[in-house]
């Protein structure tokens, strides 16, 4: 079909941060299809340079409010490795519990508040308060409980307070954890079942689009790998997290203040769908049942299904959170102080699966324990090239539809990645030259 098409969605709504979708087609030939990143840079390296190791995680969590827990945990892991700080098993369990809470919160927020309105023909979740009140109340109840995990365990869900290098400044009480467990079992489990019903009713509206690509995520042989594991590619297999530079290959492109990444192909995808493709065998039965009902099968190459993978994963996070609380209580809570006596000053890498995909932090500390060099590679930055490649395949396939329909499908595509543009731009990637 010979067609001229110009789409310019400026400051796409219902995503974190500022991005524009730009598509130009001339007489049926696609000239441009890309997501432009126009977020204002924030110069985080200027904030980190020379800062004490006590402050590194406080500062890097401010890269993004939505991903603050993920940045904080990843930053702490990198700092601890660089300074040779051992952490206890209790610290690791509490951090895993926090990651489950943050992943639940983020996935529920995205599925109900940011993505679902598209499937119901609405511009936001607010009209649904009148038309589907029970769904909105359920979503809010799930989000509240997920945030309460953060509030109880880390002092505050947005920009957590108590996780510090070497441990926690405050250990939650037995009573607090028992109450979280009670609400997870009594409220979250039935709410998750109802969520699967709701999403099943909407799943028919997910666009049918497939583009084979590479998926990269952490994978652990012990569990559904979120806190740690090896870097795993659907193309090339697993490598240790210290190989992260080779598994990202950041490079600058003209239309984005955020850098792009590639490994085996021109682009790759990270996030819930990548975790599904690499680690679905490690999910609990409730999550696997949900996947079956929602039409998510292994080696899924439809990026719109990322939202479904997020929902599936939320079920796993809820049930595994209960298992972690049981383990913490069975082992007996210990009132530990954080271990903050460095045994060396060097370089450390942290890799964590955060809601939008694999996140890397790397720091080098001088002998006073001050940041000498820092590097963060952000999930959304890793996905940008994949989004562009998706758009280049999608637009010619749907070029017969109206401009409004094409625009909506492009917006839904970008939203499906749940992009976090503040994160992607506020990356730090500089060796300080003294």
């Amino acid at each position: 079909m010979s067609r001229n098409l110009d789409i310019n969605v400026e400051h796409l709504t219902r995503v974190e941060g500022h991005g524009n979708i730009v598509v130009n087609m001339r007489e049926g030939v696609l000239e441009k299809a890309q997501l432009e990143i126009v977020e204002a840079p924030r110069y985080f390296e200027a904030m980190l340079k020379g800062r004490s190791f006590h402050e590194a995680a406080i500062i890097t969590s401010r890269i993004c409010g939505i991903c603050s827990l993920g940045h904080q945990i990843t930053s702490l892991k990198a700092t601890e490795q660089a300074l040779g700080l051992e952490v206890s098993e209790q610290t690791v369990l509490l951090r895993k519990l926090l990651i489950h809470g943050a992943t639940l919160q983020s996935n529920i927020l995205h599925a109900y508040f940011l993505a679902a309105p598209d499937f119901l023909g609405e511009g936001s979740v607010f009209p649904l308060v009148g038309t589907h009140p029970e769904v909105v109340v359920r979503a809010l109840r799930m989000k509240r409980l997920a945030n309460d995990i953060g509030d109880v365990v880390s002092g505050r869900a947005v920009h957590p307070i108590t996780p510090v290098p070497g441990g926690f400044t405050r250990i939650p009480t037995r009573k607090e954890l028992l109450e979280l467990k009670r609400r997870l079992v009594e409220d979250m489990v039935p709410d998750f079942a109802a969520t699967v019903d709701t999403m099943e009713a909407l799943a028919g509206a997910i666009p049918d689009f497939t583009r084979e690509t590479e998926f990269i995520s952490l994978r652990s042989e012990d569990e559904y790998g979120l806190y740690d594991g090896q870097i795993c590619s659907t193309d090339t297999g697993c490598v240790p997290d210290t190989e992260y530079m080779a598994m990202t290959n950041e490079h600058v492109v003209g239309h984005s203040t955020s850098k792009h990444c590639k490994v085996s192909r021109s682009s790759y995808m990270v996030g819930a769908l990548a975790r599904w493709n690499n680690s679905h065998d490690k999910l609990c039965d409730v999550a696997l049942d949900a996947a079956k009902r929602l039409g998510l099968a292994p080696d899924c190459h439809n990026p719109y299904m990322n939202t479904i993978a997020q929902v599936v994963e939320a079920g796993h996070c809820a049930l595994d959170a209960v298992a972690i609380i049981d383990k913490l209580l069975d082992d007996g809570l210990k009132d530990e102080q954080p271990n903050q006596e460095p045994t060396r000053f060097g370089t450390g890498v942290g890799a964590t699966e955060v809601p939008r995909g694999i996140l890397y932090h790397e720091y080098t500390y001088d002998r006073q324990g001050r940041v000498a060099a820092a590097n963060c590679i952000i999930p959304t930055g890793q996905n940008l090239a994949n989004i562009d490649d998706d758009m280049k395949k999608l637009v010619p396939e749907i070029v017969g539809e109206t401009k409004e329909e094409i625009t909506l499908k492009l917006e839904m595509l970008v939203r499906a990645y749940d992009p976090c543009i503040s994160c992607s731009v506020h990356l730090l990637d500089v060796d300080f030259i003294e």
Partner: protein, 255 residues
């Protein structure tokens, strides 16, 4: 107080983000227990992070983030023209927040360090608080914004009542919560010069006060520096900690 009275029917609310992490906006979506009540009292007419659509006029504009590019300056003047009340939301909007740390170094050095030869591609200004460019009617402080303070201000606005910011130090609230002094635990703390209103939340959960709510109106900075040095920090390190959230306020203060 604002110059113009609020409309008597439901106030039209708009929410905007500038340079920041959007954590304060997320904190608004995190009012799960209050969100439906909030929506019953106001009409949200513009909020890019949560909804489609634009509005020409509003009664209350909540502004998150600092101003750091020429485009920010243009947008904030436009928002000020369209709104009756303007609220600065969170540390970035109120003081410049952590972004302002970059202001402590020559801006050309900072740009070159990040973008190298491409530094002129991305226009930048010092990270400025909203009040340095337009009139701000109210502040909600904190990083992220203090939720209890937001609800106090929000209630006052929809009821047409005035809202007064606290101006005592975090130490006052910390003492009222009967916490052991953070300095007694062998740590450092910025509570003595930091504006209260957070109910000393961080110190209550075992962390030191990082100063995210900004300084009290007449802070004794020299005294604070002395206490920090007495507790083991170098003068340089003491100032780094003080400047994390207060680089703009401390500009020009004698070390």
């Amino acid at each position: 107080m604002a110059d113009k009275p609020l409309r008597t029917d439901k106030p039209r609310v708009a929410i905007f983000d500038f340079t920041g992490c959007e954590g304060c906006e997320l904190n608004q979506l995190n009012f799960e227990d209050q969100l439906l009540d909030i929506l019953a009292h106001v009409d949200i007419v513009e909020w890019r992070e949560a909804m489609d659509g634009h509005a020409d006029e509003y009664d209350i504009a909540f502004v998150e983030g600092c101003l750091s590019t020429p485009d920010c300056i243009k947008r904030i003047h436009d928002i000020r023209r369209r709104t009756k009340v303007l609220v600065a939301l969170g540390a970035c909007a109120v003081t410049g927040g952590v972004n302002a740390v970059k202001n402590t170094r020559p801006i050309e050095d900072v740009r070159e360090e990040v973008y190298g030869d491409d530094k002129y591609l991305f226009p930048t200004l010092p990270a400025l608080p909203v009040s340095s460019v337009v009139k701000v009617d109210y502040n909600v402080r904190g990083c992220p914004m203090t939720q209890i303070e937001f609800l106090r201000l929000f209630t006052a606005l929809v009821m047409g009542k005035d809202f007064v910011e606290p101006d005592q130090s975090v130490c006052v609230e910390c003492k009222l919560r009967e916490n052991e002094c953070v300095f007694e635990k062998g740590m450092i703390c910025l509570g003595p010069v930091t504006r209260a209103g957070c109910n000393a939340h961080c110190t209550t959960v075992g962390q030191y006060c990082t100063g995210c709510r900004g300084l009290v109106s007449e802070p004794n900075i020299k005294g604070m520096e002395e206490i920090l040095v007495q507790h083991g920090l170098s003068v340089d390190e003491a100032w780094k900690r003080l400047e994390l959230y207060n680089a703009n306020q401390l500009e020009g203060v004698q070390r």
